[in-house]
């Protein structure tokens, strides 16, 4: 009778991971990274602060371009569409869907009822030279301070302040 030797495994096992295993691991890792990235960007875009920062940056760009380049570079904020842009350049930022933007002002004219305002700067001084609210020109002497409020769904708020007499603007948190 022929004895069949049972299969004996070699002492050392040199087999690593299979290609399938590696692919599965890589796929899972990439899904996790993707989810984390999306959630982080969602979290930050939801934020009123980053929205106000974006508006402030666009305002700064419009002012700087007016001071340094030829032609008009007006800042337009449309609260109904949720976007701010520089016209006629066309650059701008979209307001995240979870943030609501509104206006208010200091002075004898109240901007809070308006949905679209356009702001033009003076070419030599950078002061605010013209404000148009819903296509109606506003007397600049009646508006000392323009506030653009960004309020997110979770109640966080940040405000862009624009001083019309000097063109100075900044973000106020809280």
């Amino acid at each position: 009778m022929k004895l069949t030797r049972p299969f004996i495994k070699p002492e050392k096992l040199n087999s690593g991971m299979t290609l399938i295993e590696i692919l599965v691991v890589v796929a899972i890792l990439s899904i996790m990274v993707g989810v984390a990235g999306v959630s982080i960007s969602l979290l930050s875009s939801r934020d009123a602060e980053s929205c106000a920062k974006d508006i402030n940056t666009t305002l700064e760009a419009a002012r700087m371009r007016t001071l340094s380049q030829e032609g008009n570079h007006n800042f337009v904020m449309d609260t109904a569409n949720g976007e701010c842009e520089i016209t006629p350049d066309g650059d701008g930022e979209d307001v995240p869907s979870r943030v609501t933007v509104s206006f208010s002002s200091e002075g004898t004219y109240d901007l809070s009822a308006h949905t679209v305002i356009e702001i033009a700067f003076d070419k030599s001084t950078g002061r605010v030279s013209r404000v148009t609210a819903d296509s109606v020109p506003i007397d600049i002497n009646n508006v000392n301070l323009i506030r653009i409020h960004a309020v997110s769904d979770n109640g966080k708020r940040a405000t862009v302040m624009l001083v019309t007499a000097t063109g100075k603007h900044y973000v106020e948190y809280g």
Binding site: G107, T125, G126, N144, M161, V163, T166, K168
Partner: protein, 280 residues
């Protein structure tokens, strides 16, 4: 027979050590990058702030038709400079003061709500302000009415009145709350601001500014103060911005010559203010 052996402890430890080294390296890179971008943003912010402020001030100075300032070389930080028409009119032995133009006021010392100095600069446009004085003229704001000062020299008397107007505007702005002042905000993060009148040396005879005494036949004397064109101002602004991981400081210095024919020049030397006339 299935091989159920997993990783050995040593292998696991080596793997953990290697991955932690890699993670630490990545984290370090990330933090360095974030810090660098924060610092760069702060530099850009401060530079923008300094540059736009300086541009606006210089633009204002070059356009102005009159000036009222305290020379910083003689005193502390300039807290106020009036650029525009400061009319001082004699009426029945006293003076009425009107102003049309811009006042640049710096408040470095007042503490804000957070207990830190405000460090703000304002640009207040006249006649858009409500001053209680009545009987103004169109296009002007009446600052003071019926001010009487002693002395005989017209230049000294008018200078003293100008200094009261200068002090009035400075105190008017710095006396308001931060929320009320915001409508004039020109710059933030200011830690120092000096405006120096170049070659201002009233006691020296050879300088661009000098005093001449006229002797009358009855023994009276009158002092007149003169300046020579062009009048040059040295402006220096210090800024400091705290961006969380450190501070960025910036100094911007520029000099500007007033080319317009100035209607009124009032310069103080820290103790008194005089009216200056152009030496023709």
């Amino acid at each position: 027979m299935k091989d159920n052996r997993g990783l050995s402890l040593v292998e696991l430890l080596v793997g953990l050590a290697l991955s932690s080294i890699v993670l630490v390296a990545i984290g370090y890179l990330l933090i360095t990058g974030l810090r660098l971008s924060g610092r760069n943003n702060a530099h850009v912010e401060v530079q923008n702030e300094a540059q736009t402020t300086m541009n606006l001030i210089i633009d204002n100075i070059m356009e102005s038709r009159g000036i009222c300032a305290v020379n910083s070389a003689a005193g502390a930080d300039t807290q106020c400079i009036l650029l525009g028409d400061l009319l001082i009119e004699a009426s029945g032995g006293a003076y009425d003061v009107y102003f049309s133009g811009d006042a640049v006021v710096t408040d470095i010392h007042t503490l804000g709500a957070d207990g830190q100095p405000l460090g703000e600069m304002y640009l207040v446009a006249f006649p858009n302000q409500d001053f209680p004085e009545d009987g103004g003229k169109p296009g002007y704001c009446k600052l003071l009415g019926g001010v009487s000062v002693g002395g005989t020299d017209e230049a000294v008397k008018k200078g003293t009145v100008a200094q009261s107007a200068w002090t009035l505007i400075r105190d008017y702005v710095t006396g308001l709350s931060q929320a009320q002042r915001i409508q004039w905000l020109l710059a933030r993060y200011i830690t120092g601001c000096t405006i120096t009148v170049d070659d201002f040396d009233i006691s020296g005879v050879t300088g661009d500014y000098y005093k001449e005494t006229t002797y009358y036949w009855n023994g009276d004397t009158e002092d007149t103060y003169y300046y020579e064109e062009p009048m040059t101002l040295q402006i220096s602004i210090d800024l400091e911005y705290d961006y969380g991981n450190g501070t960025v400081t910036r100094n911007l210095t520029d000099s500007v010559a007033l080319r317009n024919r100035l209607n009124q020049v009032y310069v103080g030397d820290g103790s008194a203010m005089y009216e200056y006339k152009l030496k023709k």
